[in-house]
Amino acid sequence: MSEDPAGSRRWRCDLGGDERWLSGAAGDDHFDRLPDALLLVIFNRIGDVKALGRCSLVSRRFHELVPLVDSVLVRVDCVIPDEPPSSSSSPSTPSSPTASVRARGVFSQIARIVLGGIVKPIQALGQILSPANSASGFPASSASLPSSSSSSSSPLPPGDVSHHSPSEVLRSFKELRHLRIELPAGELGMDDGVMLKWKADFGSTLGSCVILGASSASASPSSAGSDSASTAPSGDGGRTEPDECDDSGSIPESFYTNGGFKLRVVWTISSLIAAAARHYLLQPIIADHRMLESLDLTDADGQGVLTMDKCQLQELRVKPVSTSRDSHRTLMPELSMWLWYAPCIELPGGLVLNGATLVAIKPSEEGTGETVWNGAAGAAWVLDAFEEPYRTAVRMLLKRRTYSLEMNSF
C-alpha cells in the first residue's frame, strides 16, 4: 500500500479532463475513504452556514451529513424593520430621556432578520432609540441629535431581494449544539469618538450585563500615562473642561452637572434594550433547536455580545419569556447596577479612554451586593466580560469607588 495509483491518476485528471471524474469509478474517490464522523469534524470547522448550504449540493453523502453539523455561524447580511416606527421616533416627548445615541438598526421595531443578496444595502435608519420610561426620569440630555431622525431607508425593489430568516436557514440543522449569529453592525450608532461595548447573558430574563463605555477612545502619543491621570481632560458630553481626578476614585461633582452621568444612564439603557431585543429575536430559533447548548449573538463591530449557555437555554424553554409592552423585546426585571468611573485611563497598547465607565448589572432578585460580589464567582463575571485590552480597563475601573444604583423594571 505504498504508492497509490489512484492518487497519481487524480493528479493527471486535475490538469485536464473533468469528464473523467464525472464517470470515474467509485474506487478512485479518495474522499469516500473518509468515514462520516471525520467528514462531520471537517464540516464543523467550516462554520459558515452558507458554505454548509452549498456543501449540501455537492453530493448525496454531503447532503445527508450537513444537517448533522453541530456548530454553525450565521452571518446576517442585513437587518430590516418589520414596520416603520410611528411616534416613537419623535424625540420631543419630554418625559422620556433622549438618547445621544443613534440607533442604526431599529431594534425595538425589528421582528425579522434578513439574509440573502440585497441589491441596495439598507442605509442607516437614523431611528432614535428612545428608551421606555425608566425610573430615572431624566430630562432630555443636551447632546446633539442626529439630523436624519426620521426613518428613511432606501426602498428595496421587491423583486431583487431574497429574504431568508435565520430560522429558515437553520431549519435543517436538527443537531445544532453551538450557534453563533453575527449581525452586520452594532445596533447603537455612536456620536463620534464614543466607545461602547456590552456583554449580556440571558436565561428567560437577564442574567447579567457588563457595559464598558468611554466618551472618547484614542491612541496615546505618550507612554507616561498612568491609570488615573490627574490633569487629563475628560471630554464628557462634548465639554472640554477637565474633570479633576479625585484620588479617592470618586466621581467629580461636575460629572453630575455637565451631563456626564445622564449620558451614562442613557448608554446603559440603550445597551440593555439592544440586548433585550436580541434576546427576543432568538426565541423561534431556540424553540426550533432543542439540542442547543450555546448561543452567541454578536455583531461585526464588536459592540455587543449576547450569550446563552446550556443552563440558560434550558431555563428559557421551561420558563416563558416576558416581553415588554413594546412587544419586540424582552422585559427587563428590576435591576441592581454598580458603576465605576475614571476620567482617564491608559491601557497597555496605548489606547486612552476618557470618561471611562464600567457598569455591572444584575437583576435585583439575585440578591444584595454582598451575595453578588462575595459569591463563588466574585467579580469574575465582570472581569471576564471583555477581551484585552478592555479587560485591563475593567480591572483598572474596578479599583475605583463603587456607585450603586437601582432601576425599575422596563
Binding site: 486535475d14 473533468d18 473518509l34 471537517i42 452558507k50 452549498r54 449540493l57 447532503h63 435543517s172
Partner: protein
C-alpha cells in the same frame, strides 16, 4: 526538565532520551522517534500502556498507517513534540519550537496533494493526534469555504450522484446559500 531515562527503552538518542519504534502497516518501514514525539498520539500512548514494558522490543506496528503517511506524520510529531518527554508533562508542556515557527511549518506541511491530505487526516484520526487532526481538518474545511458546489467537487475529487431533478430540488431548499 530533561527526560529521566528511567525505564528500559530499547534504544536511545545520545542524550539518553527514550525512543520508540513505530512500524508501518505493511511492515516496510520502521521509524525510531523520541518518546515525546510518539506520545503525541493517544493511540500510541494507549498501545504502550496496554503492552507494558516489553512493548518496545519489536516496535509498535500501526496497522492502519502506511509507510509514506507514517513518515509524514512523524515529521509533524517531531516538530511539535514538547521538549520534555516525561509522559505526564507531554500534553501540558509547550513544544520546543516557537509559535511562529510552528505556524509556518504547519502551513507548509499541508501543502500536499489531496491524496496525501486525505491520508494524513485519516492517520491523524486513527492515531488520535489532536494537533494534526485539527490542522488537516481545518485545511480541508478552508478548501470548502467560499467555493461553489462544483468547485468543491473538483477540489476534493468528488462525484455527484444527484440527478438533475434532485439537484434542482436541493438547490431550491438551500437557495439562501447562493
Amino acid at each position: 526538565m530533561a527526560a529521566a531515562a528511567d525505564s528500559s527503552g530499547d534504544g536511545g538518542t545520545s542524550s539518553g532520551e527514550k525512543t520508540i519504534v513505530l512500524v508501518s502497516s505493511d511492515n516496510s518501514a520502521r521509524f525510531e522517534v523520541r518518546e515525546a514525539a510518539a506520545l503525541l498520539s493517544q493511540t500510541v500512548r494507549r498501545m504502550i500502556d496496554e503492552a507494558g514494558a516489553d512493548a518496545s522490543g519489536d516496535g509498535i506496528t500501526l496497522p492502519d498507517v502506511d509507510a509514506k503517511t507514517l513518515a509524514k506524520v512523524l515529521e509533524y510529531c517531531n516538530k511539535h513534540a514538547p521538549a520534555s518527554s516525561s509522559s505526564s508533562a507531554a500534553e501540558a508542556a509547550p513544544p520546543a519550537e516557537g509559535e511562529e515557527d510552528l505556524e509556518r511549518f504547519d502551513r507548509e506541511f499541508v501543502r500536499v496533494d489531496m491524496g496525501t491530505l486525505y491520508s494524513l487526516v485519516t492517520a491523524a484520526s486513527y492515531l488520535k493526534i489532536e494537533g494534526l487532526l485539527n490542522l488537516t481538518c481545518q485545511t480541508i474545511a478552508d478548501m470548502i469555504k467560499g467555493k461553489t458546489p462544483e468547485q468543491i467537487r473538483k477540489t476534493l475529487g468528488i462525484t455527484s450522484e444527484f440527478t438533475p431533478e434532485e439537484e434542482d430540488e436541493v438547490r431550491r431548499e438551500n437557495a439562501w446559500a447562493f
